[in-house]
Symmetry: C2
Subunit: 246 residues, 2 copies
């Protein structure tokens, strides 16, 4: 830990902007989506494994984005991909009878995610020293609604909708840094997923790993990074400590 902090001390001197992964890193999507799905479908008589439904919906996430990353489909915002994936997952759970209004309401589950307990306090401290933006695959309106819900203040919304492509494509990280007039090496990507950080590092950004061991349910998330990172900490509050924020 001392080595990590010392390295962070050298790194941080030139860092001006922090970019954040959101789903899993800042918010507990699984518990929140399960709760929102239950609140819509339970009154309609559905009795299913709510966390299982959330997992199945999230399971369609990477394949849907891959269609766009490879150029097979033109860019669509994540709300559109989520809705397409929802229709598929409802069918799989034998809920094909669910109507249009309920589906539209279900899709808003991703706008109503709760932060992990340390997120809001950590972001407030980090904001005293750095420019902050999400660099998420979620669209701008998801980011805006999550910020209002959880009391976050962003300097801007970077990520997929600005870049018109999906992480881990390098252009998404680079367009975030460019939006802040920031050379990549003066920006740091903060995420709970080694794959996201590996891609950010390959694009020239600094990286911070946040452990979210409960992301996919108890004991399922990454507890330590599987790639080399500049900082590895258990929470955003610990990141604020490591980066010298008051």
């Amino acid at each position: 830990m001392a080595a990590s902090l010392s390295k962070a001390g050298r790194t941080v001197e030139r860092i001006r902007a922090l970019f954040f992964d959101v789903f899993g890193t800042l918010v507990d999507w699984r518990t929140s989506v399960a709760r929102e799905v239950r609140s819509v479908l339970s009154p309609l008589g559905a009795q299913i494994d709510w966390e299982g439904f959330a997992d199945a919906w999230r399971g369609e996430y990477q394949p849907a984005m891959e269609e766009i990353r490879t150029g097979r489909l033109p860019f669509s915002r994540l709300d559109v991909l989520h809705r397409r994936n929802l229709d598929r997952v409802l069918e799989r759970f034998r809920l094909g009878r669910v109507g249009e209004a309920a589906r539209a309401e279900l899709n808003l589950a991703w706008h109503r995610l709760d932060a992990w307990p340390d997120t809001t306090a950590g972001l407030a401290r980090l904001r005293t020293r750095f420019r902050l933006a999400p660099c998420s695959n979620g669209n701008i309106s998801i980011m805006v609604d999550l910020a209002r819900r959880n009391g976050w203040v962003w300097d801007a919304i970077a990520g997929a909708e600005l870049a018109r492509d999906y992480k881990p494509t390098p252009g998404v990280y680079l367009s975030a840094a460019a939006a802040f007039d920031c050379p990549p090496e003066e920006a740091m990507m903060v995420a709970a997923h080694s794959s996201d950080l590996a891609a950010a590092a390959a694009a020239g950004l600094r990286t911070a790993f946040i452990a979210r061991p409960e992301e996919f349910g108890p004991g399922t998330g990454e507890t330590s990074p599987s790639v080399s990172v500049d900082v590895s900490v258990p929470s955003l509050v610990a990141l604020a400590d490591a980066l010298g924020c008051a």
Copy 2:
């Protein structure tokens, strides 16, 4: 005024998002640019009309954007256009000897503009009821720096860099509304310029005019709109009153 407020009362019920012009509407660019230019060029021995320099620089603004709006040049961020225009204006003021470092510093003048006295308090009140974003021709980093300098909190940064085109092209207003999942008629454009509001209204947005009579120097700005608008007020604080914000 009573008629305007009554109309505003009916209009506001469906408004969810406010978009703001920035140069001239939220900030006094002329006084600020003159001050910043003086602080860079005066130590180099220049003795010129500082406000005149600001006016000349601003005078190159519309022609530069027109090259992009018409498709003659690909999209470039306003910082790039400002720099090109600066080089031209320095030549005109017989300051062609000014070096690269000073030119780069001069270009940051547009990141260091001061708000009109009512702006920051007005935005804070408007934020209690509406989603807020700038919809400016300035790039994201200009918006971020002006927000930090003046204590504004945005939900997102809309405008030219997101749309990759310049106002008054309709797509700039429409991409702002779309970023907030907002039908155009549930968004309101706020500006001190009738031409901006006419274009926003043509794209389907509601409109609010703010009088900035000093924009180009005493008695030079628009004191009332030359087009039909939904609300016309003398300040952002008055707008917060008109739109029923606490």
